[in-house]
Amino acid sequence: MTAQDTIRARAKELLESGEVATFIGWEAGRFANQTTPLVITDAADADKLVFDEYCVNTLAKYVRDVVSRGKVGLVVRGCDSRGIIRLVTDKVIKREDVYLIGVGCPGMKDRKTGELLKKCAECRHNNPLEFDEMAGDAVEKPAAAERFAEVAEVEAMAQADRSRYFESVYAKCIRCYACRDVCPCCTCRECFVDARRENWVGKQNNVAENRFYGLTRVMHIGDRCIECGECERACPMDLPLMKLNRKVIQDMNDLFGEFESALSLEDTTEPLIEYRLDDVEEFM
């Protein structure tokens, strides 16, 4: 039985028995080699579920929208499961709100080029870290790209070049907030960009306001980012968002000790809400 068969069979059983109210997976999209996330409530729809190497969307964030209807079943790979861990740690959902069918991920491909997606090439945890059952075996861990390679590239640039580089990034941003909407760390009931009284970010779409959004988002999610790369994938302007996230993560690793967010439900390390008396000081 393939993983896809198991997923369909189990989704059907879970929905029929009423153990879950909704099930989230992927269905075939309109075009060849394309899938879209699928939320089903009827066991008869279970056969629409697919699992192939084009399931590019991460599913965790969808749970938030349907959890009010009851327990949610979903398929989780490494990234999805870390997203779930993130949501549980942030108390957006409870662990018992979800039933997780784990599946080892071989890495997903771009539907046009057939190449491994950037986020999958950088993936360090392709097998689920939290699950209730596995559909199929865990797969071998692929050799991940160097975690902070792209940060080092930017750091190697001269100050004025870096300044110009990010200026052009923020000039391109259209503030569609797709990066926020796919991010499993971005679960505020109201995002700071929508706060009218404080007026953190102006409504104009200009470099200054885009910069405010970009920098603040990194500060808000930096110590909780699960490095799924969904923000970058979802960005319609192809902005190098992980270069920002990874910079903060790299610094936290350097300064406050080895850390990777949301690897288990027990480890809730968030460097920015902790401190040590002997923390590094680069100023005085």
Binding site: G29, R162, Y165, N205, M219, F256, R276
Partner: protein
């Protein structure tokens, strides 16, 4: 972050604008003491009083730089001396990460500085203000780009052609 180059393009009488976020219990007191001692320092710094450096939200710094300050100074009690016990330990982590992030994006390090200044260190407050003002003066105005430069937007990638083309066969 300063894209526009200031090759002496700004007026001769330009004076840097610097905002200093100071905690009420240590640095603000130190600044008051500098006044009591009639110390003299440049008037380019305006102090904004916050209760504790732990109250210092990085977003205020972005706002200040975006809206026209040439430099930002954040000051609090020395580690271990926080009136609220732990506020400056959190501030230390936040400011450290934030400062590195700003510099990564190309801000000159001198434009955002963090210092611990106690209520007794009036001299240190004066010296810090003098040095920050001089450093920023040497850099010139921070002309952050605000408006989006006119350039051709890239085409939004992916399925743009698909809708015009003959539909491909839908996958099973």
């Amino acid at each position: 972050m300063s894209v526009v180059e200031n090759n002496g393009a700004y007026p001769e009488n330009w004076e840097p604008k610097i905002i200093a976020f100071c905690c009420h219990w240590c640095t603000y007191t130190g600044a008051d003491l500098a006044g009591l001692n009639r110390m003299n320092y440049p008037a380019n710094v305006r102090v904004l009083r916050i209760p504790c450096s732990g109250r210092m939200n990085p977003q205020y710094v972005i706002e200040a730089l975006n809206k026209g300050c040439d430099g930002v100074l954040v000051c609090g009690c020395h580690p271990g001396d926080c009136h609220y016990v732990t506020g400056n330990y959190y501030a230390r982590r936040r400011m450290l990460i934030f400062k590195r992030l700003l510099e990564y994006e190309g801000l000159e390090p001198e434009r955002f500085q963090v210092r611990w200044i106690s209520g007794a260190e009036a001299g240190k407050f004066r010296d810090t203000v003098m040095s920050v003002v001089e450093q920023v003066r040497a850099l010139g105005p921070l002309n952050l780009t605000r408006e989006i430069p006119a350039f051709e937007l890239p085409r939004i990638p992916d399925d743009e052609d698909a809708f015009n083309a003959v539909p491909e066969e839908v996958t099973a």
